[in-house]
């Protein structure tokens, strides 16, 4: 079994600080600055490595992987609605969270591969950026279909999804990285966006730990179902992602990252979108499940498991 990376220990110390009620606090401006950094840096890195392929070649495969991500909320919804007994609004909103992705989980996956010196396809970043769209739209439809009450604000929702900070900065990072790669000008920017990546991730994980700790109560209140769901669902989604990655001929690293994307769930972009699209859903539940259960599971156990999955598929003789 793969060793735990030092960087994820920062998450542990964040949670612990919350639990023992340390006065440790991450200034809000730092948290926001770090997430800007991570989004740009992830995009930039992906863009630089994308500058080495023919984009047009990968486009159809990438699009397929994005579109198929709509299956995730479609699978999650009935489980949440009929086994979990959530309201339609909550079940739809949680589905949208699980269909959407977590850039930080992705970053932990990238760090995992880097520690192993494993190759992965740069355009996985693009897939990450675009996967939000089908997931959030599908989740919203599930939450609102046939529901009475105010009409869904589709215009506002699509604006939020398409211009939201996460998608926007990832894409901006990809384009700038791509341009820098094409014009051989990566050099002066990499000191920031590549060299410091892991250190910034460390700080961010510390804060994520604090935030997760602050959500523990909300998770506990929902009991066994949400914990079970928050662990079993990502494993299943990750398996599906790994399978797709293998089918589509990704490298082992890329296969694992696709599994991570399918398995990870959002706690920033999705809540923002759901506030607009499904205002009657309770954000405490979806954020609690996403950040309090699935996120820690993914960064500690999920990532190594998805790696094993990717590895296993790649040993299947074709």
């Amino acid at each position: 079994m793969a060793t735990i990376q030092p960087v994820v220990l920062f998450f542990v110390f964040g949670v612990l600080a919350g639990v023992i009620k340390s006065d440790l606090k991450i200034p809000e401006a730092l948290y926001k600055s770090l997430s800007l950094f991570l989004l740009i840096a992830i995009g930039f890195k992906g863009g630089v490595s994308m500058s080495k392929y023919e984009i047009m070649e990968v486009l159809p495969i990438a699009s397929a992987m994005v579109v198929l991500a709509a299956l995730i909320p479609l699978t999650a919804y009935p489980i949440l609605r009929f086994i979990g007994k959530f309201t339609q609004a909550d079940a739809g909103a949680i589905s949208a969270h699980y269909g959407s992705v977590s850039a930080v989980t992705f970053a932990v996956g990238v760090a995992f591969l880097a520690a192993k010196d494993e190759y992965s396809e740069g355009y996985m970043v693009l897939i990450m950026a675009l996967m939000e769209i089908p997931a959030l739209v599908t989740g919203t439809i599930l939450a609102r279909a046939g529901a009475s009450g105010e009409k869904t604000q589709w215009g506002k929702l699509m604006h939020e999804i398409l211009t939201g900070t996460s998608l926007y900065l990832l894409i901006a990072g990809v384009i700038i990285g791509y341009y820098a790669g094409m014009t051989n000008n990566v050099a002066p920017l990499d000191k920031m966006f590549m060299d410091l990546f892991m250190g910034v991730l460390a700080f961010f994980l510390l804060e994520m730990g604090l935030l997760a700790a602050s959500r523990l109560k909300a998770v506990m209140a929902k009991g066994v179902f949400i914990i079970t769901f928050g662990i079993l669902f990502p494993i299943t989604a990750g398996l599906f992602g790994a399978y797709l990655g293998w089918i589509f001929g990704l490298s082992e690293g890329g296969t694992m990252l696709l599994a991570v994307l399918y398995a990870s769930c959002s706690y920033i972009a999705a809540p923002a979108a759901m506030r607009i699209a499904v205002p009657d859903a309770d954000p405490a539940v979806s954020i609690g499940a996403s950040l309090g259960v699935t996120f820690p599971f993914n960064i500690f156990l999920g990532v190594p498991i998805y790696w094993e999955m990717a590895h296993w598929f790649h040993t299947i003789p074709v």
């Binding site: 948290y31 935030l211 920033i268 506030r275």
Partner: protein
């Protein structure tokens, strides 16, 4: 120096006015300032990063994941203006949530008139 609530000058160099104290979500602030502009209001004060408890539960601007923030708008104006604000604000507040308190106050004359 007793304040009489009769709407005329009651303390030297002061003018009787109405004070509004409105608390709403920051996402409605633009609509509110436009509404106040439409009423011809010429001065108000905005305090951001406000939290609180209300019918929608706790709203904490320091919670980075929830992204909820209230604003408080304090506004002094003359009685006739006040009536106009009340008329416009009441229906709008139904959509906004939040609250609006109204009370009497005296405006200390001196600075440029902005009411």
């Amino acid at each position: 120096m007793i304040i009489e609530l009769s709407g005329k000058k009651i303390m030297n160099n002061t003018i009787a006015m109405k004070r509004f104290e409105i608390v709403i979500g920051i996402e409605q602030l633009e609509q509110l300032t436009e509404l106040l502009d439409r009423c011809g209001v010429r001065g108000y004060t905005i305090l951001k990063n406000v939290g609180g408890l209300g019918s929608r539960g706790v709203r904490d601007p320091d919670d980075v994941l929830m992204e909820e923030e209230n604003v408080m708008v304090v506004l002094a104006c003359k009685d006739d203006q006040a009536q106009r604000v009340v008329n416009e604000l009441r229906p709008a507040l139904k959509g906004f949530g939040g609250m609006c308190l109204i009370s009497d106050c005296l405006w200390l004359e001196g600075p440029a008139i902005s009411y």
